[in-house]
Structure formats: structure tokens, C-alpha cells
Amino acid sequence: EPEVTQTPSHQVTQMGQEVILRCVPISNHLYFYWYRQILGQKVEFLVSFYNNEISEKSEIFDDQFSVERPDGSNFTLKIRSTKLEDSAMYFCASSLTSGGAGDTQYFGPGTRLTVL
């Protein structure tokens, strides 16, 4: 069964450093998302991406964040200058072609980011 994959599973970085989190969505999906979950808190939406553009973003997704689909398979989240409060589990998700609101979003296993 196709699945969303994410690398690395755990990333440790120093405050102020740039990190890139990588995701490979399900191959025929066209809508891509990033969510994060700070320890003990809710899963929060960060951004959605379609047709090489951001279609929606949350207040959390400020200028320090960016997303990219550099080729036909990868979808990345970059944090330019990490802060302690960026420590969280980051989930990538993808959904099928129509991108309708009722489409199932398939989640990857997550990348745990630890900022020291």
C-alpha cells in the first residue's frame, strides 16, 4: 500500500541553524500539507501546497518557514533560523487529486525536530 515517507525520523539542531525536513508524498497525490505537534499539544496545521503554490497557511507559518517541491517526488519544509519553540514533531500529509475538503489526508510517520 502506498505511503507517505519522511526523513529524517529525528533531527537535532542548534538554535539559529537552518533545517530541511523531507517528505515523499504518495505518488499520484497533488495536495501536500505540513502539520506539527509540540509535545503535549494539539496537532496544528502549518501549510498546504498545490500546483507549486501555497494554497493556505497558518499564523505559525511565518517568514522563517518555506516549502518547496524541488522535483516530482519530494516535498520539503525549510526552517531558516530555528528557535527553541520550533521543537516539535512535524508531519507531512498528502491527499488525492481533487483536493476536496473531504479528501483523506494520508500522513507520514513524522520527523521529530529538537532545537538545542
Binding site: 507517505v4 495536495y31 500539507y33 502539520y35 499539544q41 494539539k42 496537532v43 496544528e44 496545521f45 498546504s48 494554497s55 493556505e56 497558518s58 508531519f91 500529509a93 491527499s95 483536493g99 476536496g100 475538503a101 473531504g102 479528501d103 483523506t104 489526508q105 494520508y106 500522513f107 507520514g108 510517520p109 513524522g110
Partner: protein, 113 residues
């Protein structure tokens, strides 16, 4: 803005007992409702979803949920749980003007032998 409330942070239950995990959402013109499960060290997996039609939705692993518009609830149920059902369960909603999922705070189901 849409919101989801999961009233129980943890639900302990004995194996083979029934369980109900509660979820309430803020009212909207139309909503799509989801239950996801997260097993330890894994990602979120869809259990079931409600889009329209029958208010009783059946999902994987013997779970079902009932959409109740008047009570703005979407409670998850299973008649007989297994040890392997121990996991975190998240209720989520998508509003009709957005594709983003809005999650509740999660309920940890702890099944004891």
C-alpha cells in the same frame, strides 16, 4: 473559527469492554469530520470519516462513529476493545471553505488485560 473538543485526555478500559471516545465540534454550515489513530512511534492513520449521508459511519478495526448535528458531536465507539487498540485517537474537522484539518487535543486509549 472551527474548533474540536475531545473531553477526555485519557480513557482506561479493560480488554473486551466497550469504549466511547467523545468529540464535539463547533457548529458550521457544513463540516467534514474525521477520526485518526496514532500508534506509538507512528504517523496518523485514518479510522473513519463523515462527509454526508448516513450518520453512522463504520471504519477500520471495528470502530464506528455517529454524527449528531443537533449535539455537534462525533463520538467514536467500539463494542469490544483489544490490547492492540491502545493508542492516541484524534478527532478532526475540515470546514467547507478550507482543506486544513483542525484537530482536537487527542484521547489516549489505554486497554488493560
Amino acid at each position: 473559527a472551527q474548533s474540536v473538543t475531545q473531553l477526555d485526555s485519557q480513557v482506561p478500559v479493560f480488554e473486551e469492554a466497550p469504549v466511547e471516545l467523545r468529540c464535539n465540534y463547533s457548529s458550521s454550515v457544513s463540516v467534514y469530520l474525521f477520526w485518526y489513530v496514532q500508534y506509538p512511534n507512528q504517523g496518523l492513520q485514518l479510522l473513519l470519516k463523515y462527509l454526508s449521508g448516513s450518520t453512522l459511519v463504520k471504519g477500520i478495526n471495528g470502530f464506528e462513529a455517529e454524527f449528531n448535528k443537533s449535539q455537534t458531536s462525533f463520538h467514536l465507539r467500539k463494542p469490544s476493545v483489544h490490547i492492540s487498540d491502545t493508542a492516541e485517537y484524534f478527532c478532526a474537522v475540515v470546514g467547507d471553505s478550507s482543506y486544513k484539518l483542525i484537530f482536537g487535543s487527542g484521547t489516549r486509549l489505554l486497554v488493560r488485560p
